[in-house]
Amino acid sequence: MAELELTGAEIVIRCLHAEGVEYVFGYPGGAVLNIYDEIYKQKGFTHVLVRHEQAAVHAADAYSRSTGKVGVALVTSGPGATNAVTGIATAYMDSIPMVVITGQVPTAAIGQDAFQEVDTVGITRPCVKHNFLVKDVKDIAPTIKKAFYIAATGRPGPVVVDIPKDITQHSCTFEYPETISMRSYNPTSKGHAGQIKRAVQMLLEAKRPVIYTGGGAVLGNAAAPLAEMARDLGYPVTSTLMGLGGYKANDPLFLGMLGMHGTYEANMAMQHCDVLIAVGARFDDRVIGNPKHFAKEARRIIHIDIDPSSISKRVKVDVPIVGDVGQVLEEMNRLLKASSERPEQAALKAWWAQIELWRAQDCLKYDRSSAMIKPQYVVEKLYEITQGQAFVTSDVGQHQMWAAQYYKFDEPRRWINSGGLGTMGVGLPYAMGVQLAHPDAMVACITGEGSIQMNIQELSTCKEYKLPIKVILLNNGYLGMVRQWQEFFYEERYAESYVASLPDFAKLAEAYGHVGMRIEKPEDVEPALRRAFTEHKDQLVFMNFITDPRENVYPMIPAGKGLSEMILV
């Protein structure tokens, strides 16, 4: 009996079913009409119709960040693909596993400057882990299999599969490969045993240790072995913006975030430690500032990362360990437990005494008696009211830093933001992806009046899918981070950072069918938040907090300076 032949479009759907995809975030168009026709006929996954392709990719990205699964987006050719590029680059910079399927003009039209044609593979090449142009219907299934495999393994990242329209019409027999092996792609997951031994020895010899964790600790699901190591040794832990939640923020061993807007104690400890263990972190410019300044203090560095190219890229390390951070930490914990040696307690005690002195600076203090709403206060109240249990997405700017500093994340995958690319406009679509993945969870989007307007059309999507997101707009009327830099470094010449005309956000939210609020006084902050999470629990609430326009994010390390050159409040 001849096997049943399926069209390319049907095969795409079958592949997504085989991968267990729950949500496809997308937007239809000419080149993907065949695929959409098959989506109409299927029940295996839910398609989420966004209002702009960029939001589809961000939502898929946040779905992945909050669940650990591969996010999926589907867009049409040409402008569909170019609109998706910002989302793809955002996911790429933060190593988020995603498969983005893009329609392409029919094979025969490629290169003819056809309607809605763009060289998607060429345009996305620098911002994907890998990409494919499918030229034969028989290649669809193996290509999608490879795409999911590549996206999720090794250092994760987005993979684009570009499928010309005629390929989705052609047919062939369908068989989804069970496994895949690629001679050119075999990521390492197990760390080198000798190096792990050396690292353990170095950790035990430390007098002034610091554990520095990044997004890799979250993506590599390393929270448990990380906590075990830190507690076993009693060593201080600091996290990058992307690593928050990888270690309990409320734990006394936690020094807070480090970097440009990190805490005084975290940055000073980082600069003055004698043994540093970096776990899934990459010493980037916003974290260690100037590598020359960082290198001035002698210290020994252990670096665990899944990506060999992240090691010794900006800072030379002494013990590189390439591997899955979770697995490597587990192996180190095993050796630590088996070892009869313990760290020198007197030295460790002295180190902690020094850290407590730095901590006593209370670098996150702010004026609590102000007649204006302080943005930090809003985040603190949000933390209290949600009891630290919310998923928090943010956009990019001052509000992002305040969210990172004042919402204490105790669990991984709760803090969803664009760290690497710093994409304004991600907050709301991120909240959509998170809320769909966790329908019963509290999801708050902390944003600014600049960022929110970059994808505000998604309020419409939120209505359609009944997403009860709580939008916390910290509205200071300025592109705040730009304003802050202009105040510090451009003699208060506020070039184009003041937004003179803003919509009435409460009315705008109401126009989209949501609940809108405007909050102007500090005493109204808490009641508004409470109402949002009780009375309006099942609705999207857009809270426009009018905050102090002159508030700055402290501490701050000016760009290009060193970790100990902080500006404090």
Partner: protein, 164 residues
Amino acid sequence: MRHIISVLMENEAGALSRVAGLFSARGYNIESLTVAPTEDATLSRMTIVTTGSNEVIEQITKQLNKLVDVIKMQDLSDGDHIERELMLVKVRAATGEQREEMKRLADIFRGRIIDVADKTYTIELTGPGSKLDAFLDALDAGAILETVRTGASGIGRGDRMLKI
């Protein structure tokens, strides 16, 4: 320092642009780059000549390895290797004297005259880049009408091999 790197990669459309894109995106130098399929038509072999500090070369190596299409690579400069480059030079050879001189020079450098026209010779020369440079230096600059070079190809000596 100058390095010559051999890369074995999947012979897929776009593989070359992934490598070229990597070098331009990260600001690495490319002195020359050559690529062609191997005896196994599913594989391409590329030779890249680049310069950079040890740190930069380490990053280039790691970034190349990270490309999904790259199967294996080797920094040939790390050990004994042979490099060859092919050059075609079109020279003025209008008078008997010029023709005689060009023939003589080509012989000294073990080049071959592969095209003879009324007023020109085209000479084929193979060797390490420095030999090709030396040949060009030996020619009277006014005599050179056109040159084309392939860029270096390289291979390890003896048991040093790059294969799967």
